[in-house]
């Protein structure tokens, strides 16, 4: 069995992100999804897990999640370095940076990577979609947020071809380090990007056959062509 730890599903389920785990779990009978609540110690601290997933949450809860995870920062680093698959979506990516600025408040984050984020809660919410490349694969994404990332990121997850990256000036998006994949994109990313889901399954050492593979690939190909045509 491959054990995937879904951290704080009671908070980090916004924008249908929990469907990432639902879909992945249904792709293989060899996958077990372990849901860890906020009152429990994460399983990755004391047990072996094959993958860790953390999704998007509200700004206030994001700060709480940072407090919850802070004592286990080194353990998380250890997992990243030994190649455990770690997948972060939406504002969960900000948690592994150095800090999050919110007006005159600085929220210290886990500091695993060398970037910072800043919230602009009074500005208009940024709603964008993007298309980019991850190696040979075309990846799509969707962002809806008040915050931006800045920093010298040497190992982005996605090179943007259409749309914006981690901030409105950037053409790179996310972080890819060992088997950590962190993207600002939120929602059911694994359904939007079946080519990426195949990669995850392969990394877990499983068959990369997807549930409703024909239909999901058709939906992907169509939307990809459409967005590449229409997105500047």
């Amino acid at each position: 069995m491959k054990r995937i730890e879904f951290l704080y599903p009671e908070f980090c389920y916004l924008y249908a992100e929990e469907y990432n785990m639902e879909y992945l779990g249904r792709c293989s009978s060899e996958i077990e999804i372990l849901r860890t609540g906020h009152l429990e110690t994460p399983k990755f601290v004391t047990e072996d897990v094959d993958m860790i997933y953390l999704g998007c949450t509200t700004e206030a809860t994001q700060e709480y999640v940072i407090e919850l995870l802070k004592p286990y920062t080194d353990k998380l680093k250890e997992h990243i370095e030994k190649g455990t698959v770690v997948f972060l979506t939406g504002n969960a990516i900000e948690i592994i940076g150095k800090s999050i600025k919110d007006e005159d408040r600085i929220i210290e984050a886990l500091g695993i990577y060398d970037f910072t984020s800043e919230r602009f809660m009074k500005r208009k919410r940024v709603n964008t979609q993007f298309v980019g490349r991850m190696g040979d694969d075309v990846i799509m994404g969707h962002m809806a947020k008040y915050s931006h990332m800045t920093g010298d990121i040497t190992n982005p997850m996605i090179e943007i071809t259409n749309g914006y990256g981690m901030n409105m000036e950037s053409k790179i998006e996310g972080i890819h380090d060992h088997n950590l994949f962190a993207t600002y994109s939120l929602g059911p990313f694994l359904i939007l990007n079946p080519v990426f889901t195949k990669k995850i399954l392969a990394l877990l050492g499983l068959s990369d056959e997807l549930l409703f593979e024909k239909e999901i690939m058709e939906a992907y190909e169509y939307r990809k062509t459409e967005l590449m045509e229409k997105l500047k």
Binding site: E10, F11, Y13, L14, Y15, A16, E18, Y19, Y23, R26, H38, T58, E59, A60, T61, Y64, R125, N127, T128, Q129, H142, A144, Y146, L186, G187, P188, I191, L192, L211, F212, E215, I216, E218, A219, Y222, R223, E226, L227, K230, L231
Partner: protein, 460 residues
């Protein structure tokens, strides 16, 4: 500064006349002009003595219409923005319409539907006497982020009018019932009415704002609305001043308890959603000083106008209906899917719920689709689902993941091709579910289906 205001008013008034001559009524143009010239227009404008605001994620328009109808029935002259927008420009337009050329307000009472996101631009200047909050649920992702965000937003705006605005709140909404702790608050509550709502996979609220504990329910009305309590602390449905009991949705009546008195009222609609809207109205009327007997009479003479109600035509024994759905909005879509499942007739569904304007519309993502409960459509009485539009491949995948058999699903990129796939036998109804912003589209698709079948019959 005041000079700017008078120039704004004059030009806006002139634009009203111009619009009337050119028969362009009901636009927000005069208000938009006024706000453009004088950004503080709302602050300076002469306002009715009594202002009632209505806000919330769902039910604002229905409630606003209902309140206006009842107050007019009671003989009041009511100013409202029911024909225009619920933003600054729409409300300014209403105020302009209510003023004479010298800027004197002719109305004593106003009922304004207010957009949640405009709270900070509206509350400080309008200082509503009463604000009804219908509920706070998940809205479209691009608009209102998550309920917690919009809660904080409203709560901050309410602090500015703490000593002025009385809130009329739905005590069974775990989000909005927590609003405005510094304001005077009137809670409306309701007893269980066996609504038996389906369970939503993506609830609007799942944890307690005070302690993070799990929110549980003694009974539920729809989605996250119901008699709630936190598993770990005392956070729960607040005690209601006006509490509806013996709610008989089919029989069309309910009883409202207030202190020791109990009064029966007619229900204006058979849905629990509208029963809650009506209850808020009753609370408002009581707070305004109306006697229960008078309220009974008033309610006996009004109807709920639900703009999104189905509209049906019959042909060869099959009903062809159009039903507006808010696409890109999970809560609204789930409610409609639940209705389609519970409405017992065997039916084909034609889904036209994508954004027709642009494939890159920022809300056109998979997010709402996977928050919406397509699972509800996995029922025997849903005979076939014809999915139209540029997102049809993704919707098909969603339906398959919801467990709906593949042979029930048809996809067409062009909605005008839907007619070739609608069943002619074995069904009682066809529902075209269209995006609410393009009502004509739904009617067009429905009429095309009927015309196509008529044509086939003529040629037989």
């Amino acid at each position: 500064m005041k000079l700017r205001y008078y120039i704004a008013l004059l030009l806006a008034k002139m634009s009203v006349i111009a619009l009337k001559i050119t028969k362009h009524n009901g636009t927000n143009f005069p208000g938009a002009v006024a706000v453009k010239i004088c950004p503080q227009f709302l602050q300076y404008a002469d306002k009715p003595k009594r202002i009632i605001g209505v806000t919330g994620t769902n039910g604002k328009t229905t409630s606003t219409n209902l309140i206006c109808d009842v107050l007019e029935q009671a003989g009041l002259k009511v100013l409202s923005n029911r024909a225009g927008s619920n933003l600054n420009s729409g409300i300014s337009t209403s105020l302009i319409n209510g003023m004479n050329i010298f800027g004197k307000q002719k109305y004593e009472t106003a009922v304004f539907e207010m957009d949640e996101r405009s709270a900070l631009k509206l509350y400080p200047y309008l200082k509503p006497d009463y604000l009804i909050v219908t509920n706070l649920a998940r809205d479209s992702i691009g608009r209102n982020a998550h309920p917690e965000y919009i809660f904080n937003f409203l709560n901050n705006a309410l602090k500015i009018v703490e000593d002025k605005t009385t809130l009329i709140l739905n005590s069974d909404d775990p989000v909005s019932s927590n609003l405005g702790k510094g304001n005077k608050r009137i809670f409306m509550g309701m007893a269980d009415c066996n609504a038996n709502p389906f369970v939503n996979s993506s609830p609007d609220v799942s944890y307690c704002p005070d302690c993070g504990g799990k929110i549980r329910y003694n009974y539920r009305f729809y989605r996250s609305i119901g008699n709630f309590y936190c598993e770990d602390c005392s956070y729960s449905t607040p005690e209601a001043k006006y509490f509806a009991e013996d709610v008989d949705l089919k029989g069309g009546k309910f009883t409202v308890k207030e202190g020791d008195s109990r009064t029966e009222f007619p229900l204006l609609s058979n849905t629990v959603f509208n029963a809650l809207n009506e209850l808020a109205l009753i609370g408002l009327l009581r707070e305004l000083g109306f006697e229960n007997e008078k309220i009974f009479d008033l309610l006996s003479n009004v109807k709920i106008t639900d703009t999104r109600r189905e509209s049906a035509v019959e042909y060869n024994g099959v009903q062809y209906c159009v039903y507006a759905a808010k696409g890109q909005l999970a809560s609204s879509s789930s409610t409609i899917f639940e209705f389609m499942a519970k409405e017992e007739s065997v039916k084909d569904l034609v889904l036209c719920m994508d954004e027709e304007t642009s494939g890159t519309h920022p809300d056109e993502t998979l997010t709402w689709m996977y928050e919406a409960d397509y699972e509800f459509l996995n029922r025997d009485n849903i005979h076939k689902i014809i999915v139209c539009g540029h997102m049809c491949k993704n919707t098909k995948l969603r339906l398959l993941l919801a467990g709906i058999p593949e042979d029930k699903i048809v996809t067409v990129f062009n909605e005008h091709d839907a007619k070739y796939h609608v069943s002619r036998e074995g069904i009682e109804k066809v529902y075209v579910l269209n995006e609410v912003d393009s009502v004509r589209r739904g009617f067009k698709v429905r009429d095309e289906i009927v015309e196509y079948f008529k044509g086939l019959d003529r040629n037989e």
